[in-house]
Structures are given as structure tokens and as C-alpha cells.
Subunit: 415 residues, 2 copies
Amino acid sequence: MRAEIIAVGTELLLGQVVNTNATFLSEKLADMGIEVYFHTVVGDNPQRLEELLQLADTRSELIILCGGLGPTDDDLTKNVLADHVGVPLVQNTEGLEALNAFFAQRQSTMTPNNLRQIETLQDGIPLPNRTGLAIGCLYKGEKNNYILLPGPPSELKPMFLEQARPLLEKEFPTTEKLTSRVLRFFGIGESKLVTDLAEMIEQQSNPTIAPYAKPNEVTLRITAKTEDELSANALLDQTEAEIMAKVGEFFYGYGEENSLVEVVVDLLKENNLSITAAESLTAGEFQATLGTISGVSEVFPGGFVTYSKETKVSFLGIDSALLDRVGVVSEECAKEMAEAALRLAGTDYALSFTGVAGPDELEGKPKGTVYIGLAQKEGETLITENHFTRDRSYVRHSSVMKGLDMLRRAILNKN
Amino acid sequence: MRAEIIAVGTELLLGQVVNTNATFLSEKLADMGIEVYFHTVVGDNPQRLEELLQLADTRSELIILCGGLGPTDDDLTKNVLADHVGVPLVQNTEGLEALNAFFAQRQSTMTPNNLRQIETLQDGIPLPNRTGLAIGCLYKGEKNNYILLPGPPSELKPMFLEQARPLLEKEFPTTEKLTSRVLRFFGIGESKLVTDLAEMIEQQSNPTIAPYAKPNEVTLRITAKTEDELSANALLDQTEAEIMAKVGEFFYGYGEENSLVEVVVDLLKENNLSITAAESLTAGEFQATLGTISGVSEVFPGGFVTYSKETKVSFLGIDSALLDRVGVVSEECAKEMAEAALRLAGTDYALSFTGVAGPDELEGKPKGTVYIGLAQKEGETLITENHFTRDRSYVRHSSVMKGLDMLRRAILNKN
């Protein structure tokens, strides 16, 4: 099936917003074996959008429209598509209930323009919005098919993954099925991974091997094209084993929506272990990352943000004279912070982060110098010295990811 | 002048690369008063690119092509455009010198395909590449004008800013200039803001008013079209005053790259004030947000993450019996947390966050119920009860933003 993606929004043409939706959808559609031939961005202009739809009809069987489903007058995507295919807009009952509940909960009055968000094409399949109010739609036309998705990525992504993708797979089944498996790696860069697997990647045909670099991790998607799932899994198992023989030491988990923090929290839960932290340069980002996981309270009681030297002394009871002697950007400081946090929180593990986020250097150490400590109730305190690159935000993120990986390896080594 | 941007590259259609070039160019062109009506992405396919050029000729006077100027066989943008306008490609002398110097410096042999990079359209104006090898081009056709730019942003940006933009300004001088101002609002939703400003937005012509919703904030871009900057600012001042009369209570700052946390950290620094926090449901996200700002150590010594009831008692010294009586999702708990943090950190302000991030309810309170406390060295502790919507991540982000706004208002009220 040939597809194209149309993003609607003047803010995109003014350069205020990057069209990451097209990138996200393209990646997911490629995985489904749907070929995307064009991305287009058009402003909030009904005539130009209609002209574009006429053109898209001549070249694509699946036309995905993103943005312009909101409550304001310049949100016109739905109206233009309804006119284009010649059906009226109707209110979606579930959407209306969600809208009323939203305003009731906020104890505020709904203005009438909000009702625009829950209108959808008559005879279309409505796509509920779990993270927002605007309803999406899959409309099967005589010749072509259209999907309407909201513009904010926080709404578009779950709506595509949870609503649109399963519908597409059901409505347009293919005889040859693509079965994918995602392997996730931490601690190896994309170019190193690709070099280590060069021979496999060059000779790939079925399964295909596609590496993706993400901040501080690399994923490999291996995809088999077969007629049944059983033979797909056999093919994937074999390729995975070959990959693992080469770069298995960096593998941490499976799955598209997985993450290092989820793997670590699961490991803590399974082993009935707990974690705390004392954070300097990361300023709470490690703990906030734990907090993204629902139910983390089982394994994480809380911890400390000791950004200044003074709070390292007053919150954690570290000897001020020691810090004056060795500096806060030091192995010793990381050790003291982790051990004090472990003692105060009474957990099985405690991570500490101290270093130079940048942009300026600190205590004569260049930006990116980070000491991470892992104190253990049973076992010695482990310290790593790291030299992270790029900007302040990347140094902090790299620190959090490295801390998670140290904890993951410590739990695995224990077992 | 009407413009459109065409990005060429199959990697964009596979979702491996985000089309940030279109965003960058759009922003710069908007500043020059050049209106961008379309972005398109097309793969490395000569036929589809030629069809797109034919379409672009019918609707744009300036057509900017990005990508596909490199040395490999799938770099075909230059060849397709040369055929399209009917001129041959010629080698660029300066480009050839730079290419030879590059290979001499690396002491490696140049393969013949590298010569493709320094070819340019006969009769076109070559655009030197300061940060790479591929030569760009401005080609003035009979009816339309074309610019060829390289795909890597590190080459495209300097080539556009240093070569293409001055040429465009010289070749196509405009009398009218666009001047923009961005106003930022917190605490008002996009639909409410648009309703409050409905009359102004309907009657807008010059300046134009464009609202844009971001997570937990709304921005308004007002843009004046004038012949000089002085009259532009007068127009913008008048429109801003009208906007402020209606929704000024929600305004927090100016600028496209600004944020609530930057405004708050600046206010703390200017007034020589300091902040700490005790975070339950946000689990460190407030403090990590402060940590994104370079130099925040002047005003933020550190704080506490008290995720469990036990750490609220052991880290902060809150009475366990009190928490059993009133619950942790309570005004009283927020008050105790903020006041304890203030006392322990010795700062001027302390924020506390306690509530239900979700997905499940807690202590009989629905998800999204959040109490935020602001203890002050001088003045009473302020508490807000909030009912945030959407998912766990949005509830936590809403809490952080609301806490920042409470702090901002407290500092402003003090002065």
C-alpha cells in the first residue's frame, strides 16, 4: 500500500514547530510494510489543503492527515476532508462524554468551540484520544483511505499505536506478514554497533536488520517476512543469536516501547530490592526518571538532591573538610554521597551522581566529567568515572542512563 | 514572494531522520518576509522529484531543494534540476580546489564520484560550502528561482545564512519587513485564550495574531508587516497592550526560546532569593527542571524527594501520626513538607508537591489531585489544591509548572 503523510499547520510553515509526527509515522508504517512516498506540510488554508487532497488521491491509497483537529477556527482539517469526500460531520458520543467529564473535573465551563473537537466524519471509524480531547478518524473512501490524527505528538503517538495501527492491520491484511523484534542496547554507539555487525547487515535479506540511534541507546529492529508467525520466530531467533554473539554484552531488553528504567524497575521488583539516590549535577533527574514508572513506590522510597556543597554536608552528613580536600567532582565524593544515602534511606542500593554538567568547567575538571557511585547493602561501593560529551542536557541524561545500567548489572551479578 | 521547500531523501520517508532543515529555513524565510506555502519530502527517485518540480513551478516563485548533492549514486537532486531547467552541469573551480585540498590534507586518494559534489548548474550562481564539500547553487529561471542546498544541517545552515540569504536579499529586495514578538502565557488554555481574544483575532490584519498551544502553556506570536522597525514596534506595542488588557494576568514572559523556569530562575537571581523543594508525586522533576538552567546553583542548594510516607517522616521529620490522620494527599501534608524543607535547607522559599500521579487513585482521591505548598521565610505558607487531567506524565508536568507559577507570583507580590 502506498501512503503519504500530510501535516496541516501554519506554525510548521513558519518554522515554529518541527514535523516530528511525519518521522514517527514513517518509521511505524515502514515496519508495517506500508511505503510512504511523500510528506507534505500545508498551512491552515482550506483551498490549498483541498488541492493537496486532490493530488494525494492520484498517487496514494492511504492518506494520513495530522493536525488541525482542535477547537479553534484555524483547525479545519476535518471540515476540509468531510467536504472532499462528501459526508457531513457528526458528534462522537464517547468523545462528548469525555469532553464533559474533562470540564466537570476542572470545574470550568466549556465554551461551544470545544464541541468541534469531538466531531468526526459520518461513516468513518472514530479513533478515541486517550491523552487529549480531539477525536481522530479512519475513513474508508471508494478509492482511497484517510486517517485523521491530532497534531500534538503526545496525542498522535498513542492514538496511532493503540487505535489506528491495529485497525489498519485488521482492515488491510497482507498475505505476507512482517514480524518484528526490537533489541535494545546501552553502552555502544550506533557506528560501533553497525561496524561490529557489518557483515550481517550487508548480507541481510530476510530478516532485515535496521539500526536506530536514540539518545544514549541504540535499537536494532529485526523483521522477518513470512506467511506464518512460527517460521517468522524461527528466523528471528536465529538472527538474534548471531547478533548476541557479537554485541550481546550491551543488550538490555526487548521491545519498541521498553526503556532502561522500565527494565531496572522490573528487576528491582522481581528481586524485592529497593533504591535511593543522592544527586548533584543531575538535580533530581534520576529520581524523576524512576517516577515515570507507575508503581515505582514499591522499590523507591525517595532520596536527596544535593546540588551545593552545603547540602552534601547538611543533608547527607558528609565531612566538609573532606570535600574541601578532594573536591565535589571526585570519586571520594561520589562514594560518600552514595553510602550516606543508603544509610539514611535504608534501601538495598543507592546511586550518587556528582560532576560537571557544563557549560563551564568545575574544580578544574572539564564539562562531562561525572562520577557515579553505587552503594550496596551487601557488597562494596562501585564507582565509575565518566567523560560524557555534547551539551548540559545530554551530560545529565547520559549520567542517568549510566547509573541505571550500573544498577542493572549489579542486580544481575547478584543473582 | 511565495516559496516552497523540497527535501530529497529516502531516509526522511523511512523515519530515520527528522526534517529539521525545513523548520530552520522556514523560520529564516519568514523573518525575511518570504512566505512558505509548502514543505514536501520526496525520496531519491528522479521521476517523482521531476513531477514535484513541475507542480512547484505552478505555485511558487522560489523553490528550495535540500539534500541529494553528495557523491553517491542516489544523490540526484542536481541532475534532476539541471534536466528540468534544461542546462548542463559544469564543474565549479573553487569547489574543485577545496576538494583537492581536502583529500591532500587527509592524505587519501579521491575517488572519481567525489567530483559529482562540485558540479553545479551552468549559468547558476554557485554557493560555496564552508563546512563540507558539496557546492550549492542559486539558479534564476525564466519564471521561477531555485536554490540547491546540501542535506546535512551542519552544511545547510551556514550555506543558507552566509551565502544564500545575502544573495536573496540582493537579488529580490523587498520593501516590507516582518517583525514578530512572542508573548507567553501560563494558567489559561488555548481555547479560553482564543475565546477571550476572539474579536481581536477575527479582525486581525496587521499585526497578525497566531496562538500556539504547548504542554501547559500557550504562546501568541504577533507579527507586523511594515517598511521600518520603528513603525513595526509601535504597531506591536499597541496590539500587545490590547491583548494584555484582556489576558494579562496569565502573561509570564516574552520570547520564542523563553520558558517559565527561566523566568523564575532569573527572578530568583535578580532578587537574591533561594528555593528548595520536597517532592512526592513529582519525584524530583521540579528540581531536575531547575537543573536544566545553567548557573541555577546560585539560587538552588538542593532538596528532597520524599516519595513514600516513611521518607516524609524520616527525611523531613513530619509527625507520622499526623500523616495517618490526614493522609499524604492533603493540604496539611503539603504544608508540613514545604515548611520542613524550608527549615532544613535554609532557603527563602520551599515548594512541596504531594498528590496522585495516577493511573490509580490514592487514599480515595482521584488521579490528578495535587496539593502544592509554598513556604516562605517571610510570609505565610500558601497551598493550592489542583485537579490536573490527562496521564501520569502530564499530571507531573502540570504540577511542576503550577509550582513554578506560584513561586513567580510570590516573588512578584513581594516586590
